[in-house]
Amino acid sequence: MRDRAWRRHIEEKVVLSRLRRLQNHRTWWHVEDANGYWLNNAILPDHIGTVTAHMYKTIKTKYKSHKNKYSPNKTNTRKNSCCWGRPGETPNTREFQTRELIKVKQEYGIK
């Protein structure tokens, strides 16, 4: 289920939520759209492809050369960050279960 298409879909959702927030903040500001026009009341599509793309897109920078794959269990979401320490250590997650399975397999000498 969690293939490339799913990750792309989730990334789109994240970008759109950030765009919505950006749009709410800047309703009364003049915004330059991708075509070089200054707009008074910009709507959501006007922010796409602008110079300020780094504010809503997860991009590579010179400090960070890779882009993380989105995974709800690995990222530091509210669910994972409360009491289980590092993300990915929550027992009912896929990452935790695979680690456990590998340990069991190693005990029985399968892997």
Binding site: N35, P45, G49
Partner: protein
């Protein structure tokens, strides 16, 4: 010709709603529409550069007549003074965006296309007015006291291209 013929690939990003072809990039962005005279109007939008360039290449292959439109004209609110806006958008994207280099690569006569549209709409005065206004912006310069040199907002190549564009327009009109 139908809008279905202009879809470039089999992805789910393409959709037709109303009389327009849309491409999805986070939201649905209008790509083109077909006029009653079977002329295709492509929106010259920087948000979907790659798609527009591919579509122009396809239209050139098909041998269909087409013109460009500014993105706001997909919206009924943006139709006011459309001749000024279309001419301004043609010239402005020629200066600023990467479309210029892409069209040069495929040997597409961009200015010839603009002149055809102007002749069709009979708005030569508008073209002259917009061209002169933009010329001031292109040749804008400032003196740098630290280096003691003049600095231009635009690169020399674009400035030369733009200043010689009027001659090209007149030749196109004569032909």
């Amino acid at each position: 010709m139908e809008l279905n013929d202009l879809i470039l690939d089999n992805s789910a990003d393409w959709s037709i709603s109303g009389d327009m072809l849309h491409y999805k990039k986070y939201v649905k962005i209008p790509v083109c529409y077909i006029d009653t005279e079977e002329v295709v109007y492509v929106f010259l939008d920087n948000r979907i550069k790659r798609v527009v360039v591919k579509l122009v290449r396809k239209l050139l292959k098909m041998g269909k007549s087409f013109h460009f439109a500014y993105p706001d004209s997909s919206n009924p609110a943006g139709i006011f003074r459309y001749q000024n806006k279309v001419v301004y958008h043609y010239l402005q994207t020629y200066i600023n965006s990467d479309f210029r280099s892409e069209f040069l690569k495929m040997d597409f006569d961009y200015i010839g296309n603009l002149v055809k549209w102007v002749q069709k709409e009979e708005c030569f005065e508008v073209l002259k007015e917009v061209y002169d206004n933009l010329k001031l912006e292109v040749n804008k310069q400032s003196y740098q006291w630290t280096s003691g040199k003049k600095e231009y907002d635009y690169v020399e190549e674009i400035r030369d291209d733009y200043n010689s564009m009027w001659r090209e327009i007149q030749i196109n009109i004569l032909l």
